[in-house]
Structures are given as structure tokens and as C-alpha cells.
Symmetry: C2
Amino acid sequence: MSPRFLILAEESFGPMTSKTANGVIRYTPENVVAVLDSSFAGRTAQDVLGFGGAIPVVPTLEVGLALEPDALLIGIAPQGGKLPDAWRQIIADAIRHRLDVWSGLHTFVGDDPEFARLAREHRVTIRDVRKPPADLGVATGRVAREVDATVILTVGSDCNIGKMTAALQIRDGLKRRGSRVAFAGTGQTGIFIEGWGIAVDAVVADFIAGAAERLTLDAAKAADIVLVEGQGSIIHPGYSGVTYGLMHGTLPHAMVMCAQPSRTTINNNPWLRIPPMPELIDLHERVLAPLRPAPVIAVALNTFDLPDAAARDAIARTADETGLPTTDPVRYDPAPVVDAIHELHERRAAVAR
Amino acid sequence: MSPRFLILAEESFGPMTSKTANGVIRYTPENVVAVLDSSFAGRTAQDVLGFGGAIPVVPTLEVGLALEPDALLIGIAPQGGKLPDAWRQIIADAIRHRLDVWSGLHTFVGDDPEFARLAREHRVTIRDVRKPPADLGVATGRVAREVDATVILTVGSDCNIGKMTAALQIRDGLKRRGSRVAFAGTGQTGIFIEGWGIAVDAVVADFIAGAAERLTLDAAKAADIVLVEGQGSIIHPGYSGVTYGLMHGTLPHAMVMCAQPSRTTINNNPWLRIPPMPELIDLHERVLAPLRPAPVIAVALNTFDLPDAAARDAIARTADETGLPTTDPVRYDPAPVVDAIHELHERRAAVAR
């Protein structure tokens, strides 16, 4: 069970500045007692983000403690990687008040001698969610041999394009249809939301697929459909290794392609043109084929920056170009993607019977 | 300049058991003063391996010290990862005798409190070659914009199939033709041989391509042709992430495909059939194309386990199937591959002029 979080977002809460905090608030508001940011004290998450309802923004740790959180969640990354002194003070005080600490920082809070000592003294747990399990191994394709569940991986034309959000919307849609579905988080936000997972981009390179394999095996224990959160893109010059490792470790039965119609080149890499959708889909199917032939069965577009008419146009055009069910699962009904997954699973289950 | 190595291979020296030691002996015998293995004392490397000439095998550190090494090279990995006490004693004594320590172990020798203390006391350097540089970043395709040298990457149908050996044979062939060529090592053996490099499989997943990018930029500073040592395979279920990251970080102008004709399934993964060579070549070209269109221009076969006639048959058949220059660059003349690279470089240089 997830703890009740007080989210630390001091001087950083906002629609564009606190991505991790916002993901947790959007998908598991019931786990959030308050957001700590003195600059927005007295407002609600809804006021600041446009979602999140009545979750209050509090000015100090003390005010937050009155709402009885179990853990402090550090969902923002400091500029330059070093924790500001004000944050250090808040974290230390939170530990003294017996809050666990959940952190998505690259620098592990539990490795800090002061925090480690305080945590021991006050018997609280520091959970650095980006810290890989110590006993990861090299992947050996076990998913293909041992998993009966239908495994779906979200892939994308770029990083930071909505793969996690799409997966979560799809999960909710499948749940509403009565499916036993698990979401396997591969990044910090996904892990905060689900309470478990592995940040695959933080593992040693040899173990990317091994981490993805373990995640998939674990998720499949109590689910008929496993939705794995994708990372990066197979055409991203920096992150492609993580993406390919995820594909080959999870060995999905099908992929859902995520893209942003308004984006034509890779984030921060204007020299790198994103290929047309049918080409990109073909490439994904080809690279997976030697290990597990599996199709892209649906497209999830992120149209947040387009007017409604342009968004609907982009969806219709993509559906036409690819011949695949297409939607924006956040803005519109996720049913086209949800139905495609549901049908694939029913077909697999019928064959197995 | 590389140090003069005393190679620690205690109770492990042999053709199949000391891969790293053997690579160093094969390619830089001039850097090796002796091998320490009491079980073969009195023999030569040639006696034990079938190559390496008169390099003596010595029974103790003391006998080795008489040959005036600069460094102890730990080229074998202990079973289970823990250093046997006998090795610890040898390493400690070597440091006391002012030898540097070069290690390819997964567990870093320099992180061991006893060895670290001794190294400080005796002012020697412990060089853990698998330890990644601390300041790696995410790759951004700089090779494509900043490198004039011709970049060649060896790729392969599987891991442990001769990609490093092929690259080194090709390097020697290019040197003989007068080319200014650099070998960029990406694994421990390659790093020992060249004295520099980055073990890309040991970096954090986010930085695989970044490590490959830095290696390529560094190698290109003093070379017209850069040969990058490949790792893994794009169809390997465990290591593909590293392979793809290498491809997208090095952005080669061309690739050399390495394969072992007698191997039909992936090492330790009998469920995974290796596709026919033309398919595999096509897949490599397709996945690189969105970032840098580049062909496979030659094939290097590893035929060590075939009789001569079967080896020549395999080479002729592969050349026929692929339409590419093909050879076993260890067993036969590497010229077909060397010439293909040389011609590509001349063509690029002519365009640049």
C-alpha cells in the first residue's frame, strides 16, 4: 500500500516545474495529504495546476504534519544536483518527525551521512526510488517462456512525450472494462504512483534488459495484462540504449506507439528529424521480430498543444496513415487503444483455453 | 604509453580461462614481462596458449619483480566475484613493491579500504578500467557534427564472437597501409591493450551513448580512421541496449559485421535463432538510418572451430549471400575488410577536398 505523502516542492510547484509531483497528484491524489511550497501557501493543487482538487499547499513542514502524512516525497530535482540548505533542513526535520522519505533524486538521500544517521535514530526508511536493486542480472528472455499475461509496452517517437501518461490512462480504461491489469513503472514518477518499480535508466548498462525482465515477471504475478511504461525512443541519440533494452527485456506481445503531432524533431536535437509514423512503426516491429514478433496495435497521440479541431485532424490523419486505432487518451476517450489491447488479450486467452 | 605488465593469472592461465590476459598477450606482448601462475611456472606463454612467444610464466611475485614490471594487471575474474585470499596477498605485496594495479574486475580494487590505504602509502595508482568517468553526459550526436575522421564500428551476430579481435587485426592491416588509425576500446581487454577507453557496459544506462560519443571524439583527435570495438549484438536479449547505445553514440560511417558461421543461436540462449546474414545486415542499416545512414561494408568471420576447407566455404558463401568483402581476419589475410575501409576513407577524403 502506498503511504500518505507530503510532497516537497518548495519554490518549485507549478504546471511546468514539478513534473514528478504533478504526476503523483494527477494519478494518485488520494495518496497526497498536501504539497509543501511556501510561495503558494493557502492555495490548492487545483489552483496551481488545474487539477488535483482540494489538496492544500502548505507553507511549512509543521502545517503539513498536522495532516498526518506517512512520508515526505521529494519530487523535484534541485538545479545542479545539490540540495539547497532549506530543503536539507526540511528533510532532516521530517525524519525527526518520523516521516519516511521517498526520493527520485539522482543523488541518493540515503547515502547522505546526516540523513542516514537521522533515519537510523528515528527508525524511518529512506526510499531512493532511482537506486537499482543490488541483485540484478542479465536478461535471458524469461518473459517469453514464463509469462502467460499479455504484455504491452508503450514506445514513442521521442522522450518526454507522454508514454507514462498514456499507459496510466489505458490502465484506467482497462480497469473500467474489468481487466486484471498491472502498471510496471520504469521511471521515478511511475514508481511513486504505483509504490514499486525500477528506474531502468539508472541501472548499469549490462542490466537494462535484466531490470525490464524482472519488472515484467513481477507485474505478471497478479495480472492478466501488464502495461510497461516505456522510456526514451529507439531513435533518440542519447537514450536509445534504454529503450531497446526495455523492448528486449519485456518482450511485449504488442506495443502502443506514443507521439506528439506538433513535434517534428527530437527534443534538444533539432538535427534529428522524427521519421513518418508508418516508418517508425515498421522499425519497432523489425527490431523486436528476431526476439518476439509483435505488432504496434494502436497509437496514443499527445495533442495538448493543439486546438481541438487540429487535434482531431491529427488523430484522423494518423489513423488513416497507419491503419491503427488512434486517440489522445488524456484529452479524449482512450477506448480505441483500450479496445485494441482488450481484443488482443481475449484472442490470446481463447487460444490458450 | 602503456606500462610493462606483470599479469596475475594465478591458477587460471590457459587458452579458455584467462581471456583478458590472453588478449593482452596476443596484441601487446611487448608490454608483458611475465605471467604469474604457480601452476605453470617455468613454461612460456607460447607453451600454454600457443602464442605469446617467450613471455615467461613465473611462480611468485618475487620472481616476477626481478623482470622490472611497472604494474600488476589483474586480467582474470574470481568465481563469485570475491578475491581469493592468495590473490589479495599478491596484490598487497605488489603495491608494497610500488607496482601500479590495473584491474578489469567488476568489484573495484581501488574501493577496497586495505588496497586504497596501501596505494596511498606507497604512492601507486590503482586503475580500475571498468570504472566509468565521473562526468559522463547524455549523447547529443556530436560525432556527426564534429568528427572528420572516418568512424567504423564492429557489430556482430552475438556477444563473444570476435568483434575486438577483428577490429585489432583490421587496425594492424590499416597501419601497414600507412593509415593514421585509432582503436577505441569499449571493454576491459581492449582498454588494457590500448591503455585507454571506457567499459561501456559498466556505465549507467542513460550514459551508454554518451560514453561512446566521448570515446569517438577522443579517438578522432589524432586519427583519420577510428575503429570502435563493438559490444553485444542488437539481437542479444541481455546486451542489446549496450549495442544500440554504441551505434547511436559513435554514429559510424560504416559497420563491419562479425559472425561465427558455426553459431546458429545466441550464446546461452538456444531459444533465440540468429537470423540469416543478409537480414541481420539489413536490420543494422535500418536502425542506424534515422540518425546516420551508414552501410555494413564488410564481413569478418570467426572460423576458428572449422577445418580449413569448411572455413573457406563459409567465407565464399557469406561473400556471395551478402555481396560484401568477407574474410577471417585472424586466420587469413584481413585485406578484403581493410581495403573496404581504406576505400571508404579515401572516397570521403576526396569529397572533403
